[in-house]
Amino acid sequence: MSTTGDRPLDAGRVGAKLRELTAVDPLGRGGQEDPWREFRRVEIIDLQLSFRFRHSLGKYSRFFLDLEQRRLMATRCPRCGTVWMPPRPACGNDLTVTEWVELPGRGTLAAATECAYTLTTGGGAGHLVLGYVALEGASTLLLQQIRNYGDARRLTPGLPMRVAWADARVEHPMELFWFEPAR
């Protein structure tokens, strides 16, 4: 939105003050036709909201803990046989309590997208590729980063994939692994 009346800021006695301005009516009504003409003087202040969580991974924790042992753990419903990956402690079809099963870490690519950035993973990574992988033994698809793919045009559905493991210390357990083409 355009504004008028901006002026160099002298925050004076208000530390959080960022700016004072006279806002323009966004509908372009001028003078007496602007019903809010007495309310166009605006102060913008700086506010911050931050949280730190002591976040439990709850009944999903074994998946994350076993990643440290380089094991990919899914859950299987003893009633309907669905193998959930990511795991679910209760089957998403019938609420039966599931059981842990290890998957071999091989599969095929279902879909991939090359992203200019992401905002949600460690370090706010720049360019990355995200893909859904159909792991052998799983009934569902697992989203993870795809690395070491060479030319991104290779990343077509059906491409054989394998899990790869991080050697370095990571921040979040999901950073312990990624997928890459098996050949």
Partner: protein, 405 residues
């Protein structure tokens, strides 16, 4: 699904506060006040006669305000009347519409003010907003892997392109259309004259999506007055003086939060099962059997260009895989067989989540009354549809509206 004794529901009027990439001149509550004033004036209704309200907004974190429903009720001067807040991500406005429909139809009240807003323009950095919105999906697995919503929608479209041969040029035509339609909408955020080439050459975000394939997070608010015909006869000047708009069908559907958990081949990664469910429910209620011919104008969810194409298919406007070709033929343009997003949609009008689904209904009401500017009026429109969803359509609402003279 419906009781024979259920009340008819009518939309008496609607209003918007200007959608913009930044509104330093107010807060979401200020914009709700503006939209409410416009809606009441449009409906010809006095605020004091309204019996109930619904307040829609997506995120307390971004609003930096809990219980905004109660705060809005206070600001509007509606205390001590009843009010309820609803939330369903991008589908929040749709959830508000459906909730209002249910309350009025069930007889809990005969008049309802429905308002929605969000401030997701530049008051909070867009990187922060997108991080917060990533929490609308799977936080522990997919978000932690780097997932975010543009990427999820991009993965869906990759599968749609693979299955049906849908092309980026066809998606770009949606951007061109919606930005063009916004040019006759003074409330719109992104009125632009674009070419397909402009869209294709805009910076990449997540393949196949580029910046001009994406809706713009915006500041703004919308409001509607919903009632029974009996209440309208007694309290609304618009009932006597204007074309009457009935809310004849409401449907809702859901799907699994993670795309990878959805069964194949349908919906698989490519389709919106929740939307198909919602549409079927709304069509059954409204007596629609051939939507492409029986709907005259539609506002269709378009957070990304490809989503509009996918939505055409699950709304039954065309067969699976046909949306790109029909878009090339101009079927969904103004002057085409079924004009869509005449307001500009989320891409052209802007995308404040709490307001979007309500703003769609405001546009359809104006279209059915024949009150849109000539450039975007669909001549003789008698039946309209709105479609909005949250997540990657893990929640969807479809509504049908009809003009009855």
């Amino acid at each position: 699904m419906t009781s024979p004794s259920a009340a008819d529901v009518v939309i008496l009027g609607g209003g918007l506060s200007k959608f913009a990439a930044e509104r330093p001149d107010g807060t979401p509550i200020d914009w709700i006040v503006e939209a409410t004033q416009a809606a009441l004036a449009d409906a010809g209704v006095e605020l004091v006669t309204i019996e109930h309200s619904i307040v829609a907004y997506e995120s307390e974190i971004i609003a930096r305000q809990l219980t905004m429903g109660q705060v809005v009720q206070d600001a509007l001067g509606l205390c001590p009347k009843p009010s309820v807040r609803v939330e369903a991500g991008g589908g929040t406005g749709g959830a508000a519409l459906r909730t209002a429909f249910a309350y009025v139809r069930a007889g809990l009240c005969e008049s309802m003010l429905v308002v929605g807003a969000d401030a997701v323009g530049r008051q909070v950095p867009s990187t922060t907003v997108r991080q917060v919105y990533a929490m609308s999906g799977d936080v522990d697995f997919e978000m932690a892997a780097g997932g975010f919503f543009t990427a999820y929608y991009a993965l869906m479209m990759q599968e749609h392109m693979r299955r049906y041969g849908t092309r980026e040029e066809q998606m770009a035509l949606v951007s061109v259309k919606n930005h063009r339609n916004a040019r006759s909408n003074p409330m719109a955020c992104m009125p632009l004259a674009l070419t397909v080439d402009d869209v294709l050459k805009s910076p990449p975000v997540a393949a196949p999506y580029k910046r001009l394939d994406c809706a713009v997070l915006a500041d703004g608010a919308a409001a509607l007055v919903i009632a029974t015909p009996r209440w309208a006869r007694e309290h609304a000047r618009a009932w006597r003086d204007r074309a009457r708009i009935y809310y004849t069908g409401s449907g809702c559907g859901t799907d699994r939060m993670r795309l990878g958990d959805r069964p194949g081949p349908y919906p698989g990664l490519a389709h919106f099962r929740a939307k198909r469910e919602a549409a079927a429910m709304a069509y059954a209620m409204a007596g629609v059997t051939d939507p492409r011919r029986e709907i005259d104008v539609a506002e269709v969810a378009d957070p990304y260009t490809g989503v509009e194409l996918q939505s055409y298919e699950d709304l039954g406007f065309c067969g699976y895989g046909e949306s790109g070709l029909l878009t090339e033929r101009g079927v969904f343009d103004l002057g085409g067989e079924l004009p869509t997003n005449t307001s500009g949609g989320l891409i052209g009008q802007g995308a404040p989540p709490g307001a979007m689904g309500l703003a769609q209904a405001v546009e359809i009401v104006r279209q059915l009354r024949g009150e849109c500017p000539r450039e975007r009026q669909v001549p003789g429109a008698r039946r309209g549809l709105t479609d909005i969803h949250g997540g990657t359509a893990s929640f969807a609402v479809v509504s049908v509206f009809e003009r009855r003279d």
